[in-house]
Symmetry: D2
Subunit: 303 residues, 4 copies
């Protein structure tokens, strides 16, 4: 398939959508991002890379990083993880306290904020230097161009009252083992990861490849763990829009409020898009449209 030509068509067709969303404004560094950015990159399992637009520019991947932490935690503790976090869609906004209360401090899934904070607490059990090791993990996925943005991390920490509430609530229920401050620091760093579209596509390739990093051959997850990861991305990866996204796009994936989206077609390829304007559910307007066009044009939906 001529992926480059398809990327060019997509690029053309998403142009009219600029201006229909809003750049995230809850922290200053995200607010200042140029709304007119659009980058897209594909990494196929046979090692080809296709890209267009601002695909080489680093951006704040925000919640997309929850996938890396979940993969790392799964790698470290296996199925034991699921005693402390669920894997069901939440039916509530991503930062809801209500679900936590009704379910006694067990987050519904690892992609709502409460669940991602829980995963960080699990990582802290096993990592000597959490911040360095989380970044090191992404580098193992053959993506070297990955850094923390300390300005973003700091802003997240200063304004993250809701996340602080979530960690404290779970700690009160006995489901957080480390110091609240430690969990928040690692979480805010995770959120502040910056990567390019090409890097992001490459680092997701192992999820399209049954858990093995293409090129290096390193196994990160078992086949079964990889299927679970993809299933969780499909059912929970797009906040309250997961159901609609599952239908429209038909790819397991994860979005972030920085405007990034990464997704995979198992057995085929991984893809990453970045465009900062968000819809009301907090997903990238052009990013989601681009993926929808991609599956339509290629016929590669898992459905």
């Amino acid at each position: 398939m001529d992926y480059q030509a398809i990327l060019e068509e997509i690029f053309e067709e998403v142009q009219p959508l600029f201006g229909q969303g809003q750049v995230a404004d809850y922290i200053e560094p995200l607010k200042q991002v140029d709304p007119n950015k659009f980058g897209i990159a594909i990494e196929t399992l046979d090692g080809q890379c296709y890209q267009l637009g601002d695909s080489q520019e680093r951006f704040s991947i925000q919640s997309v990083s929850k996938v890396f932490n979940l993969a790392l935690a799964t790698n470290l503790v296996g199925d034991a993880l699921w005693q402390r976090v669920g894997m069901e869609p939440s039916g509530n906004p991503f930062n809801s306290l209500v679900q936590l209360e009704y379910e006694n401090g067990i987050p519904r899934n690892p992609f709502i904020n409460a669940g991602a904070l829980l995963v960080v607490d699990v990582l802290l059990d096993h990592l000597a230097d959490a911040n360095a090791d989380m970044l090191g993990f992404v580098r193992q996925l053959r993506c070297s161009d990955v850094y923390y943005d300390e300005v973003v991390a700091e802003s997240e920490k200063t304004t993250g009252y809701n996340n602080t509430a979530l960690v404290n609530y779970m700690k009160g229920r006995g489901n957080i083992r480390h110091e609240v401050g430690q969990v928040l620091d690692a979480y805010c760093h995770q959120c502040s990861i910056t990567m390019t579209c090409t890097g992001l596509a490459r680092s997701f390739a192992f999820l399209a490849n049954g858990g093995v990093v293409p090129g290096s051959g390193q196994r990160i997850l078992t086949t079964s763990q990889t299927k679970r990861m993809n299933a969780i991305m499909l059912t929970c990866g797009f906040y309250d829009e997961s159901g609609e996204f599952a239908y429209k796009v038909g790819m397991p994936g994860k979005s972030g409020v920085g405007g990034g989206v990464a997704a995979v077609i198992p057995g085929k390829l991984s893809i990453a898009v970045w465009s900062p304007e968000l819809n009301e559910q907090g997903n990238s307007v052009l990013g989601i449209k681009a993926l929808e066009l991609f599956t339509t044009k290629t016929g590669l939906s898992i459905f």
Copy 2:
């Protein structure tokens, strides 16, 4: 692939699970079903049929029928349907009133009871004789051995206080157009449909075939509508266990409290299992295990 051999392996391996679940007991006719039944059938898109065990015995498909009604409603009214029902996972038990109240009478998806009742109300707008036409629709899917079980339908009506509550609540919010009694009658008939595993597998084949009935070539849904249907089955088809099922089995599907489960591998095949013992989430214990074994053995998971 030697599907018959795989079915035989599965049959062997699920045997130890008999006795681990409970037959549905909220109505007398379901309560009396022999818990030791197990049937399974596969229909491939190239027209082959494989089966084992009690695959020719008719059983009460219950909520599996929600898929037929949703397909018929989509066929009749297209996207307009989604103004009256959502397509997001619910995060609440299948018969919850709470979600309805917080979302002003709009059911979260067409597979929770409220949503299925809503779909029936939509059908009543367009069908001259709803009960006859719903059955006629399944017959168009090349499954002739399909009937209502009037004893079941009557029992559902007599004991369905919660469903009556749901319809009345939605009517109070202006989201039900027909008489409450009419909606309930059609809904209870839909629930009472009895089919065999072979019939059920066959009637689901169009969902594996892009919306076209194999054999007859009749188009029921557009490609895009079929993808949406499969996505909704994957994210909402198994009550509160949808997330876990999506991972374990990796097939879009739908279960019913009669112990039936039907699922598809897009582009490949449809499969139906029946075994009456249910787990705590109301899904067939052996049915789910059988599908999990099937995707493991065949490697056919969509993830």
Copy 3:
């Protein structure tokens, strides 16, 4: 104290409030009521009656009647009643299904709709002719001018989808014993009771008198049951405005969407007001203001 003079002052001071509320419009007969009505009546325990304005005109007392049914049920079954309904404030709108679901079909208190429907179900256990007996009970309270408005009762029945949902839901949870239709018929009749302000004040006098009807000397409730009744009126009698009303007015009482309010000062008097315009919480704008002025002018608040 010169109650007549106080009533005249109140009458003067509430005049500017006409036009600030909305007459109930969910059923036709209530919608047609003249918004400019205002009646008030006091019955003291020493047998004096004071009144002003439209105090002799009958109006639809609606939820004020819940007090009569609760008194009758208490009289008939005593403390056993509290196994099937709570006596805590609800913190939710009066017709909420959410509370019922979280508390397994036990209504929080007898003045939310679910609780009042439950009380009717209890009455049906003990009354030969519920509709006649409920009216007969009010007549025992020395108020003969009391009737059902069959047009209102019928309208309530035709539009009462939410109440139908509530009864069905409770029946599904095993907390309703009689036929749904029977419960709703009795409930809708209860709501349709019409009385005058003087009649309403008189019929509430036993609640100011330790449970004994002044004049006849008939004991309806024990002293202890009367205290409980007054406590429930104070904490739950004014929908979601109960807390504010408790403070502003300082009298146990009950309001209805017909614009009526009845209240008592234990040991002293009972009072009834009617004015059809309602505030957003469904309480009579002038009615509540009149009672607030009454306690301010007389210093008779229980606080």
Copy 4:
């Protein structure tokens, strides 16, 4: 009335209840309190004091202190307070996050934890030295024997994850102005106040006296503010048991998990009881029984 004789009768009658409750155990200092304590004290508006048992021993008044802070905040900012906190019963446990979320960070009333934290934030706006000034306020109520227990305050801080969650959540919604740590420090100190039954009864006397401290004649609250305070105590002062308490006891009051209860009969007297064993709702078993007996024996219920 011979109050001393009544206290002696009460003392006798509550004895069999020892052992029916549980001493609070969420912090070490409370856990170590002798469960067999029982003290009671009455302060009448004509200046008499009656007491019995451990009425001179200081104990941790915990949430009873919320009344002092609310009185002080009302004194300082008047009605403006009610823009930031409601005065309706909550219908949820005292530390629920659910209510806060559905109502956008506005606590339902000042006696649930979220509301009390909010009141502390208001105090911090107006007090030069919050901790000293809160204590000074209680001393103005003619109770000099009042201190913070720094061990308790520290324990509250160390274990108060849920309160930390509440403050952070409200700050995220813009309803907390001061630093989270500052609010928690003042709140934990407030909770750690230790007083005797005699001191507690004396300090509540102004609430029975229309807002004026008996003896000193100092006006703390207006008559109207005092009525509101009493109304809020009646409807919200006993956690999820407020409705039942309102009926059984018929006095506005407030309880704490230290086993203290303080209440008033407007125009007559104030009363305080202490006994550490708590029922499931977190109210003192013997304390509530003692107050119930008191109103039964004296006939002094407000109902």
